[in-house]
């Protein structure tokens, strides 16, 4: 691998030098040329981020400084810095995240973008976080939109949007080598090399990432990933730029539960995630901009020892192969209609494909299409109106319109009130539409496709927000009221024809109401910074259409108490699960303080009330309250991020061993803890 990197480096350097060798001419410095010189438009409309005070949604920005201070080594952990966001683990190698609202471990109600690529994938509609070809060190910024935002972020921007932006290769960054070693088998190595020239910029990254998981003796949740990414820009002339990106993540992740050799034997899954992306940006003479982009994502994994029949003894094992892919092409235009009105508009097509013979009778594909427009109008300097919509056809017979409107009023330039109404749609995913398996052949439960056709879920959010700036203090708060129609859930006895062999399927079952308050504060001083978030939320649901067998006396689990059985008998579990699926209170504080010129200290406190993700049925314990504290101490040397510079840091996670329990949808997972762990990282720039 390193040999390859060195070769690519020398090749690209040669290209770079040949392109830029003519740049330095011995022109005399004092002439009128400095005043007459023409330049390309660099900070184009799409590069300039909309300030939070003009944004139609509440947004949390996680910047490089916060990423570093947090000490987190996985992308998913960073979302603990977002008010109200849930971060869960179905094993350390299968993390998932969701924002205020009903979710299960296949969290599928958020749009997740990495440099504009939508990375939630069919057939389940979730994100394979550990399989993403993405390095924490390569992230420039993460924007988390809290609330529906289909008009500006596309399909599935339902509870919210995670928008990950990696470092642009045009940034003048030094090459870097990082190493992390620590307890629980933590072992990371990453290297980054790049160059920025007159017409061509590139950045190559390589990473090796491994750990033994959180509870390897109970749950085989170890993982090893090898990641290679490339990002480059090629400028044809002042107005045309091509961007190319490639990425590959080859991973091995453990599966298996102690004491379940018949259903879930210890084994290793191999997976490969890759993508290619190309985008062409054109800046028009007026300053307007058009961008045509195409990307392709491909993911496949092989489970060599999946239990495929445990109705018989001994269990039959087989190979579980799954493959999913996405291709997407989009055109987006940014047009200044008049001085105070700018519109972003365009459209796109998407092809989604999934294959997994053990759970689908055939391969499935969907051809989606969409058009969108988002207008930002400033009728007065003090007022910004954002209005937009997306119209989509999901290729499975659903056509949706998802409008959003907001009014931001700057009471003073530094104080803004926002009122917004936003909607979004979540189309049923392939797993909800097509799952077909017999009992004890993949899952314990048998699945059949829906008896009634599924309708898309609809969300509508009403929100009042405030964004304020008091010198070094930034404040952000919102109160929201969200209604979700037709939440798709599991209908346990969908097929009444044979109750001895019950079959489940998905059905539009409930309507939900989510209410809450979120407050964020960010305060900086000369040698430090503190970032504070608090969220209080409440969820409640009611049936919009009843389960097929409303009254159900059959026992789901042998360990059920009488009360749980009665609750289940009247299917009230559905409603109880909904309201327990969000933590009432959650908060975090991230504090960093320079102790001297060369020593940095930071600490993170993460609090969350008990919570129960909806596929953790009442018979199992909920995730307990969490009070976790992490520390990081770093010693810097040389110039920050410049050749010869670097730092050595020690990170201690869950320093006081708070015994909070995590997600567990089976008894064996119920009381697993996140054990205190320490690791060292070193970064060197050259």
């Amino acid at each position: 691998m390193y040999r390859d990197l060195i070769f690519i480096r020398s090749l690209l350097s040669a290209v770079l030098i040949s392109i830029s060798s003519s740049a330095f001419s011995a022109e005399e410095n004092i002439t009128e040329q400095s005043y007459l010189q023409e330049f390309p438009v660099v900070l184009t409309a799409s590069r300039l981020s909309q300030p939070l005070s003009d944004s139609p949604n509440s947004m949390t920005i996680i910047d490089r400084q916060m990423i570093r201070s947090s000490g987190f080594r996985s992308v998913v952990d960073l979302f603990r810095l977002v008010p109200g966001m849930y971060v869960g683990n179905a094993g350390a190698n299968q993390p998932f995240v969701s924002l205020n609202g009903v979710t299960d471990q296949y969290s599928r109600r958020m749009q997740v973008l990495v440099d504009g690529r939508s990375v939630y994938l069919p057939p389940f509609g979730g994100v394979d976080w550990s399989g993403l070809p993405l390095l924490v060190e390569g992230i420039e910024r993460i924007e988390v939109v809290r609330g529906p935002s289909a008009a500006s972020h596309g399909t599935n921007s339902f509870y919210g949007v995670i928008n990950i932006i990696t470092k642009d290769p045009s940034f003048l960054e030094s090459d870097r080598l990082s190493v992390s070693q620590g307890e629980m088998g933590i072992s990371n190595i990453s290297a980054q090399q790049g160059g920025a020239g007159e017409r061509f910029d590139y950045r190559l990254s390589y990473a090796y990432r491994a750990d033994d998981g959180d509870n390897p003796e109970v749950l085989n949740d170890s993982s090893t990933n090898r990641i290679l990414t490339m990002r480059s820009n090629f400028r044809v002339n002042f107005s045309d730029t091509f961007e190319f990106q490639l990425g590959l993540n080859a991973g091995e992740s453990g599966r298996g539960t102690k004491g379940q050799p018949e259903k879930d034997i210890f084994r290793t899954i191999e997976s490969k995630n890759e993508f290619q992306m190309v985008a062409w940006r054109h800046t028009w003479d007026s300053g307007d901009e058009s961008k045509l982009s195409y990307y392709r994502i491909n993911r496949n994994s092989t489970d060599p020892m999946k239990a495929v029949d445990w109705n018989v003894i001994p269990t039959v094992f087989g190979t579980d192969y799954s493959s999913s892919s996405r291709q997407d092409i989009e055109i987006q235009n940014t047009t200044q209609l008049w001085k105070e009105n700018r519109i972003v508009w365009g459209g796109g097509f998407r092809y989604d494909f999934a294959e997994q013979p053990l759970i689908f009778t055939s391969t499935h594909s969907l051809n989606q299409s969409r058009v969108f427009a988002h207008d930002e109008w400033r009728p007065m300097e003090s007022t910004v109106i954002n209005i937009g919509t997306m119209f989509e056809d999901d290729g499975a017979g659903h056509k949706n319109n998802s409008p959003r409107v907001s009014v931001n009023y700057h009471i003073q330039p530094q104080h803004t009130l926002r009122a917004s109404y936003g909607t979004a749609t979540r189309n049923p995913v392939m797993s909800e539409m097509y799952l077909t398996t017999a009992a004890n052949k993949y899952w314990s439960r048998a699945y059949v496709p829906p008896i009634n056709e599924l309708r898309p879920e609809k969300i509508a959010t009403r929100e009042i927000g405030y964004v304020g700036n008091f010198g070094q203090l930034n404040l952000d708060g919102r109160i929201y009221y969200e209604t979700v129609r037709d939440i798709i859930g599991l209908d346990f006895y969908a097929d009444l024809s044979n109750l001895a062999d019950p079959k489940s399927s998905f059905k539009n079952l409930t309507d939900g109401t989510f209410k809450g308050v979120e407050i964020s504060a960010d305060y900086r001083w000369e040698s430090g910074r503190v970032n504070l978030n608090y969220a209080r939320q409440q969820a409640s649901c009611r049936f919009s259409s009843y389960p097929t067998q409303y009254f159900n006396a059959l026992q789901i689990s042998a360990s059920q108490t009488l009360a749980q059985m009665l609750g289940q008998a009247y299917q009230s579990d559905y409603l109880a699960l909904c309201s327990a699926s969000v933590p009432v209170n959650s908060a975090n504080i991230l504090l960093s303080q320079g102790l001297s010129e060369t020593v940095d200290f930071s600490t993170g406190y993460y609090f969350r009330d008990a919570v129960r993700v909806t596929d953790v049925y009442s018979a199992l314990p909920a995730e307990s309250m969490m009070h976790r504290i992490d520390f990081r101490l770093a010693k810097k040397f040389g110039k920050e991020e410049r050749p010869g510079g670097g730092e050595v840091a020690v990170i201690l996670q869950n320093a006081f061993q708070d015994n909070y329990t995590g997600y567990g949808n089976i008894a064996q997972m119920a009381n697993l803890l996140f054990k205190r762990r320490a690791y060292l990282t070193a970064n060197v720039y050259f």
Partner: protein
């Protein structure tokens, strides 16, 4: 009024648009009684009562001739480099803006900016007056040179860490069409606004710039020519009286800088300078 019309020869440094435009602006601003010819450097210099050198190259050629010359479209430093003593028959209208105006613009648009960063390869001639004025106005001036020991990337990021605003001083080794991209992206990433030299800088992504338009320069040149025709004397070398301010409102909003109207800014700069 002269019996014979005063003969004026405009000598353009080259034939590109900027010079042509200034030439035609002067022609259309001047009263009709002048006999005006326009040539480029390299063409034969016909006899004239007054030469107008447009740009540095023309100024260099004419500085050796000892003829009455008005120099336009050149920076003050360029005029001083010619080493010909200004007189009633040798003068200039500078195209750059006095440092006071630049600082007045920063004071109006970024009232909280106390640290001003400047980046250069060759020591800019403006630096002396900038240092003095910054001292008087209690501003911190951070100077950073780009050289072999401090290549652009390191020099810029070090400078941006301690600056509230990056003030561009003319330096065509630092600010080039192939480096402006990296510089602007880096300033935006550090959330430090750039004050540029021209409307082109603002279009590229600088927060603002103060400059004189060809019309403004031509108007002042025409005034000097008319004075010369009437009195036989050119006014002393001077900056332009009129100036223009451009603000990139998109950049301003994204950086959280309260947007001010260009007209209002001009009034404030006049008052401050």
């Amino acid at each position: 009024m002269h019996a014979n019309p005063t003969r004026i020869t405009l000598v353009l440094s080259d034939n590109t648009a900027a010079y042509q435009e200034l030439g035609s602006e002067i022609r259309s601003t001047l009263a009709k009684e002048f006999e005006l010819s326009v040539i480029s450097v390299g063409e034969d210099l016909a006899d004239a009562d007054l030469y107008v050198a447009v740009g540095m190259k023309a100024a260099e050629v004419l500085s050796l001739r000892g003829k009455p010359t008005l120099n336009v479209l050149l920076p003050r430093a360029g005029f001083e480099k010619l080493r010909r003593v200004p007189s009633s028959s040798y003068s200039a209208i500078f195209m750059d803006q006095p440092v006071q105006r630049q600082l007045a613009l920063i004071a109006s648009l970024l009232p909280n900016a106390t640290s001003i960063g400047v980046l250069y390869d060759t020591l800019p001639t403006e630096l002396d007056s900038l240092r003095k004025l910054a001292g008087i106005k209690h501003l911190n001036l951070h100077e950073q040179q780009v050289n072999k020991q401090h290549p652009l990337a390191g020099a810029l990021s070090a400078l941006l860490q301690e600056s509230d605003v990056l003030l561009v001083l003319p330096d065509n080794k630092v600010y080039r069409s192939d480096t402006i991209r990296n510089i602007l992206l880096e300033t935006y990433r550090a959330q430090v606004p750039m004050v540029g030299l021209s409307a082109n800088y603002v279009r590229a992504g600088a927060l603002c710039a103060i400059y004189s338009t060809p019309q403004q320069i031509a108007y002042q040149a025409a005034e000097a020519i008319e004075e010369f025709a009437e009195t036989g004397r050119l006014p002393a070398p001077q900056y332009t009286k009129e100036f223009e301010i451009s603000v990139n409102t998109q950049v301003a909003r994204s950086l959280g800088v309260p947007v001010k109207d260009a007209v209002q800014l001009r009034v404030e700069v006049r008052r401050h300078q």
